[in-house]
């Protein structure tokens, strides 16, 4: 073992006591930083994946959209469905209506779907909380759970739907009466924005409400497993002519995905400051050690050590702290995440927050996803920061003249 490594180890872990106070505190500081950082990242990854999955469930892989109503869509649907990478195709029509129950008006968006096809495409049944999809006919609707609660609707409640078509007719001095429909079921996707303002109807009902005859607004596609989203979208787009176009679920929810990514980046930057602060205290402690050991360093150089190696012994201390802090931090974080649900529930019980928690987060498990690239980034950055923390004191030793060092009081 080169002597500078030996000295670095001995300064951190002296022969007699085993651990120096400095080593314990610095390694603890770094590992806490790493643990928090990786913990938060893993949980955010978990949430992110959960949300992506739910987005995918709601949207399907690809949509074919247009500015106008698409008539004669069966040909388009057949054409797309014949592609090797497309598994299923389902037409939809969407828009906004006014929904009224008693004198309480709401303006939900409406999704008109082809039930038989849609059921194959997306796990719609999974979302149903009350009633059944089978009861959905051309005179009934499915309500989002939040919206249903707001207007006090349950299965069998009847509501009135007003559509833009009515205004259109009014201009021609015709009066179209609101459509009375019953609630066939209540669904819950887990996404508040969807559950508070979405109405699902049959495609036929939506076509009636909007006076679209046989037209649709678009096609939802599911790809074969393993097919490339990007390639499929590109190929379909090439085959389509304007105003028809294919967009991926990622594009449809671009803001959402962006916000998720942005939040994670911000979180990472903020939490890196913990490690940075820990590294500052490492630097100052090492600097103090250099000053305290000035004469020892002078003697070591006199005894034949190269000043470069003296400097190395301080860099190595930073490195050792960085590496062990990272390893311990990751281990600590793995332990915490393993017991995360117990920890959170204990905390919730202590603060009587269990009900609130259940209300805001519709899951019992905190999702976690370990991303290798996060680990590599955090470990790499931490070790580099700690190494840099050792470099400043090391530079200080390089500036020392051994003769002055030996002379210093």
């Amino acid at each position: 073992m080169p002597w500078y490594l030996y000295m670095a180890l001995k300064q951190l872990f002296p022969t007699r006591r085993g651990f120096s106070f400095f080593a314990v505190m610095s390694i603890l500081g770094v590992s806490l930083g790493v643990a928090v950082l990786i913990g938060v990242q893993s949980v955010m990854n978990g949430f992110g994946r959960e949300i992506r999955e739910s987005l995918l469930k709601i949207n399907g892989d690809i949509r074919i959209e247009s500015d106008r109503v698409i008539y004669d869509w069966e040909r388009l649907a057949d054409f797309v469905e014949e592609r090797d990478d497309v598994d299923l195709v389902s037409p939809y029509a969407h828009g906004v209506v006014m929904l009224q129950r008693g004198n309480l008006p709401l303006f939900p968006s409406v999704m008109g779907i082809d039930l038989t096809r849609e059921r194959q495409l997306l796990p719609v049944d999974e979302f149903i909380r009350q009633g059944s999809l089978d009861d959905l006919d051309d005179d009934s609707v499915l309500l989002g759970s939040v919206m249903a609660q707001r207007i006090g609707a349950t299965v069998g409640t009847s509501v009135e739907l007003y559509t833009p078509l009515m205004l259109d007719r009014l201009k021609r001095d015709e009066v179209l009466l609101p459509r009375e429909v019953t609630v066939a079921g209540i669904f819950e996707s887990g996404r508040h924005d969807v559950d508070s303002s979405t109405l699902i109807t049959s495609l036929r009902l939506m076509q009636d409400l909007y006076g679209m005859e046989d037209g649709i607004h678009g096609l939802a596609l599911r790809l074969e497993p393993g097919a490339s989203l990007g390639e499929a979208t590109l190929a379909i787009n090439e085959a389509l002519s304007s105003p028809l176009r294919a967009v991926t679920w990622l594009e449809t929810n671009r803001e959402y995905a962006y916000v998720l990514e942005f939040e994670k980046t911000m979180m990472t930057i903020i939490l890196f400051f913990i490690i940075l602060v820990a590294s500052f205290s490492i630097t100052s402690a090492l600097m103090t050690s250099v000053v305290r050991k000035t004469r020892e360093i002078g003697l070591i150089v006199a005894m034949g050590a190269r000043p470069f190696h003296v400097a190395m012994s301080y860099c190595v201390q930073g490195l050792i702290i960085g590496v062990s802090g990272t390893v311990i931090g990751i281990a600590l974080q793995a332990l915490i995440l393993h017991y995360r649900n117990e920890i959170v529930w204990t905390f919730a019980r202590l603060t009587d927050g269990r009900d609130a928690m259940l209300r805001f987060y519709q899951f019992n498990d905190i999702p976690v996803y370990y991303s290798m690239s996060d680990f590599v980034l955090v470990s790499g950055m931490t070790i580099i920061i700690c190494l840099l923390a050792g470099i400043l004191p090391a530079m200080r030793t390089l500036r020392m003249k051994p003769s002055d060092a030996l002379r210093s009081e």
Binding site: Q11, R16, R295, G298, L299, I300, A302, G304, A305
Partner: protein, 252 residues
């Protein structure tokens, strides 16, 4: 005694200093510390250097060992001119050629007694299986074998200096540079440690260059020098010794 000195004086000197000059420049002021110092130390001979405080004794030792650079003159270790050696070579040669003992002990507090002694070998990358045996043997010679696993902070000043002596001798140096090695010790401990240093250096075959204020200790050496106004003069021993009758010698 005289005959043996005459014989060894014909050998290649272990350490040779010729016309050494050293000037410090401090905030525009020049301090001429050494003005043409000459010294030749034959193998196995011990010398002492006395001089007033601030006369440049420590500076001279730093120059001899290449820790400080000189602007004029030559320094040879076993015939090797050190002027112009690169940093790496200089460090290696110094580590092999010299052992250091200072007034303060400069033991490393994080490691125990025997590890402090072994550090000298470690620094030169010379740690072998046999090193430990040598370290233990040296500690035995300085009377600390039973405390080799002691933390150094628990030792007294005299004991610490003994450890420092063992450490200085670890790499079998040709020359021990001792700068007031007993300066921090009481009178009794000082002479004990001094006897020990002289005895162990003789046994290990290392020459001793001792800087001291104590005329008793100075007299224990083969030759005595006085550093005065930047020049090193022989006080006792050597050619000077034979030229001048005892009653004219200073300090005697």
């Amino acid at each position: 005694m005289n005959t043996s000195r005459t014989v060894s004086a014909h050998d290649l000197p272990l350490l040779e200093v010729a016309d050494l000059h050293k000037t410090f420049h401090d905030s525009g002021r020049s301090i001429h510390v050494l003005n043409g110092v000459n010294l030749s130390v034959p193998d196995g001979r011990n010398i002492s250097i006395c001089g007033q405080s601030g006369s440049g004794k420590s500076t001279f030792l730093n120059l001899i060992s290449g820790l400080e650079s000189h602007e004029q003159g030559s320094i040879r270790w076993n015939g090797l001119e050190i002027m112009g050696l690169n940093e790496r070579r200089l460090a290696r040669e110094r580590g092999r050629f010299f052992g250091f003992i200072f007034q303060a002990y400069y033991l490393v507090p994080e490691i125990n007694v025997v590890e402090n002694v072994l550090l000298a070998a470690r620094l030169l990358g010379r740690l072998r299986q046999s090193s430990r045996d040598r370290a233990v043997a040296l500690l035995e010679q300085v009377g600390l074998k039973d405390r080799m696993r002691y933390p150094v902070q628990k030792l007294s000043g005299g004991e610490r200096q003994r450890v420092a002596v063992a450490r200085a001798l670890m790499n079998e140096p040709k020359v021990i540079l001792a700068d007031e090695p007993t300066g921090n010790l009481d009178e009794n401990t000082a002479s004990e440690v001094m006897d020990l240093i002289v005895g162990i250096c003789r046994k290990q075959g290392s020459s001793l260059i001792l800087v001291t204020h104590n005329p008793l200790f100075a007299r224990m050496m083969d030759q005595e020098y006085l550093l005065h106004e930047g020049v090193l003069n022989v006080v006792r021993g050597g050619d000077y010794d034979r030229m001048i009758p005892d009653e004219f010698k200073p300090g005697m």
